[in-house]
């Protein structure tokens, strides 16, 4: 059974975009151990993206390759959650500049990895054996990412007054973006219909429980949702993705015929 390409791209784009973001801390972390930890997260995510792009490229045939998919598609062709493309700071327009905020990084990694442990766990049973194998490997990595980010969420929430305020602000900023997890895109719909994808909606109670429990332990409050539901996974992104891709793709696109 083969998986709809758009669904593979959704999973791959999530991984590459968040991998790119996590790597931005390399050399700038709050403590050397965290530079290494976030580099690890990034490496795992880029590894996942490569496997998923390779699988998609194989199915697409022709001259498709993992790098063509990562480097030569434009922002509107990316299928990642909007949450993952945001810079490491509070709500500001695309061309605003601000310092990276570790709380934002941690909260985002937590919210996403809490989802992905559930997603990868279920995808291990995908009728697409290739995807199931990627899911089994990715599940172990996502569990580590969840562990790491949850530990820090609790430390920051129940740390100092300043860290509590910062991490609460990050939760308030990022939580609304998770609403996108629960809508069904056409790619997700057809993957479910084909028996290779999963119904994400069904994961919501488990995700809610995981998030609520961690927030409580961190002495944080969960904001009520109201507002805009993002649609990055169908290609309608924030202003931030084209900056991220502009940087990521610049060298590859300057030398389109080169191999590296």
């Amino acid at each position: 059974m083969s998986t709809p390409i758009d669904y593979l791209l959704h999973l791959a784009d999530n991984a590459v975009v968040l991998g790119q973001r996590n790597a931005e801390w390399c050399g700038h972390g709050p403590i050397l151990e965290e530079d290494l930890a976030l580099a690890n997260v990034s490496l795992d995510l880029i590894g996942q993206a490569r496997l998923l792009y390779q699988r998609a490229a194989e199915m697409m045939g022709g001259d498709a390759t993992e790098d063509k998919l990562a480097y030569f598609r434009d922002a509107h062709q990316f299928r990642n959650y909007t949450l993952l493309e945001l810079p490491h700071h509070g709500p500001l327009v695309g061309y605003a500049a601000a310092d990276r905020d570790y709380a934002t990084t941690i909260v985002r990694n937590f919210l996403y990895s809490a989802l992905m442990v559930l997603v990868w766990d279920k995808l291990q049973q995908s009728k697409d054996a290739g995807l199931a194998a990627i899911a089994a490997k990715s599940l172990k990595e996502a569990s580590y990412h969840l562990h790491h980010s949850r530990d820090w969420l609790v430390r920051l929430g129940d740390g100092t007054e300043e860290s509590h305020a910062r991490v609460q602000a990050a939760v308030n900023h990022l939580m609304p973006y998770t609403e996108e997890f629960w809508t069904t895109s056409p790619a997700e719909g057809s993957a479910v219909a084909a028996g290779v994808g999963i119904d994400v909606w069904a994961l919501r109670p488990d995700w809610d429980a995981m998030v609520n429990e961690a927030l409580e332990e961190a002495t944080l409050t969960r904001p009520n949702f109201h507002g805009y539901v993002t649609e990055g996974k169908i290609g309608l992104h924030s202003e931030h993705l084209s900056y991220l891709l502009g940087e990521m793709q610049t060298l590859a696109r300057a030398h389109p015929n080169a191999t590296w």
Partner: protein, 335 residues
């Protein structure tokens, strides 16, 4: 990555005390162990000057590893393929790991990481000057792997036999990883040299910019190297700067030929009589200028480290506060 500046004095170096002449039993035992090429371990007695020299050298080395994350980190976001991106992140991560083992090795001598970092941030402690040059193109990443990690290996292999046990053991692990970095860097360059004209030009340009800086990594000529003699006597330094530099050049020239790049030194040629390559004059004025803080990137490198540290203060404070609370809770529960 690495260290060059093994014997570059910083402020603590200038205060290096002369080993006292009194022949205490402890000192005699220390000297005997050094003479027999034995290892000194953290719990062993050692002269203050030996301890201070090691702390200075190991912390300089650790600082070099973490400052060295910045020039290569500069290309992570723009790496031209996902495979190269992953390789580069893993490499930069290894360098951070080297920093960690080295800080730990230095801590066994009684100086804490915070104190060492304060030395770096105040500009008092040095780090390898090679990282004060910019990485201008993607080829710099490959050239740094090939030449800078290559020079680091030459410098560090003798340190695997350093008289101080924890440092020697850290270096064994570091050297293994540096060799891997060197091979990966060279392989990336081989691929580029088989590619387009632009890629080949990029590689040659990077070699032109880095070659002389790499030769300077071995430190000043032996004649001008005041700390070397004591370091040799203590088994902290094993091979002189000039010998190491010559070994590096002799090993690198054939690699450059295979790669198809020209090393930018018209005086570079095989000397049948010496059985070594002759080479031209290194610009020591430029080198010292950069060591003194006036290279192209010194200010950016240091300010970036300081900013990361300062911006991270609230995170470290939170971790400490949380740990304290957890401990109090545990005590309360036990009571």
């Amino acid at each position: 990555m690495y260290t060059q500046a093994m014997d570059i004095p910083d402020e603590s170096g200038k205060k290096l005390a002369v080993v006292p002449g009194t022949a205490s039993e402890l000192e005699a035992a220390f000297e005997a162990r050094i003479a027999a090429d034995g290892r000194i371990e953290p719990q062993d007695w050692m002269p203050d000057a030996y301890r201070r020299t090691l702390v200075r050298q190991i912390s300089q080395h650790a600082h070099s590893e973490i400052v060295g994350m910045l020039p290569e980190g500069n290309w992570i976001s723009r790496a031209p393929s996902l495979k190269r991106k992953a390789i580069l992140i893993a490499k930069v991560q290894d360098e951070g790991g080297h920093g960690l083992y080295l800080y730990s090795a230095a801590e066994t001598l009684g100086t804490g990481r915070d104190e060492m970092l304060a030395g770096l941030h105040s500009g008092k402690a040095k780090y390898s000057s090679i990282f004060n040059y910019p990485t201008l193109t993607w080829a710099d990443v490959g050239v740094i792997g090939w030449l800078v990690d290559g020079a680091a290996i030459m410098n560090q292999i003798p340190l695997c036999r350093c008289s101080y046990g924890p440092y020697a053991r850290a270096m064994i692990r570091v050297c293994k990883e540096e060799s891997f970095h060197q091979r990966q860097g060279y392989e990336a360059l081989l691929v580029m040299m088989k590619g387009t004209d632009e890629q080949r030009a990029m590689v040659q340009d990077a070699v032109n910019r880095y070659w002389w800086k790499c030769l300077a990594m071995f430190g000043p000529p032996d004649a001008d190297s005041p700390h070397s003699a004591q370091g040799m006597r203590w088994g902290i330094k094993r091979i002189s700067n000039d010998e190491l530099r010559q070994k590096f050049i002799d090993a690198t020239v054939p690699q450059a030929k295979v790669l198809g790049v020209t090393l930018p030194d018209p005086a570079l040629k095989w000397n049948e009589e010496r059985q070594h390559y002759d080479y031209g004059q290194i610009d020591w004025t430029e080198f010292w200028n950069t060591v003194e803080g006036n290279g192209p990137c010194n200010k950016e490198r240091l300010a970036t480290r300081v900013k990361a540290h300062n911006d991270g203060q609230w995170v470290r404070d939170a971790a400490l506060a949380y740990a304290r609370k957890q401990k109090e809770r545990a005590i309360k529960e036990a009571a």
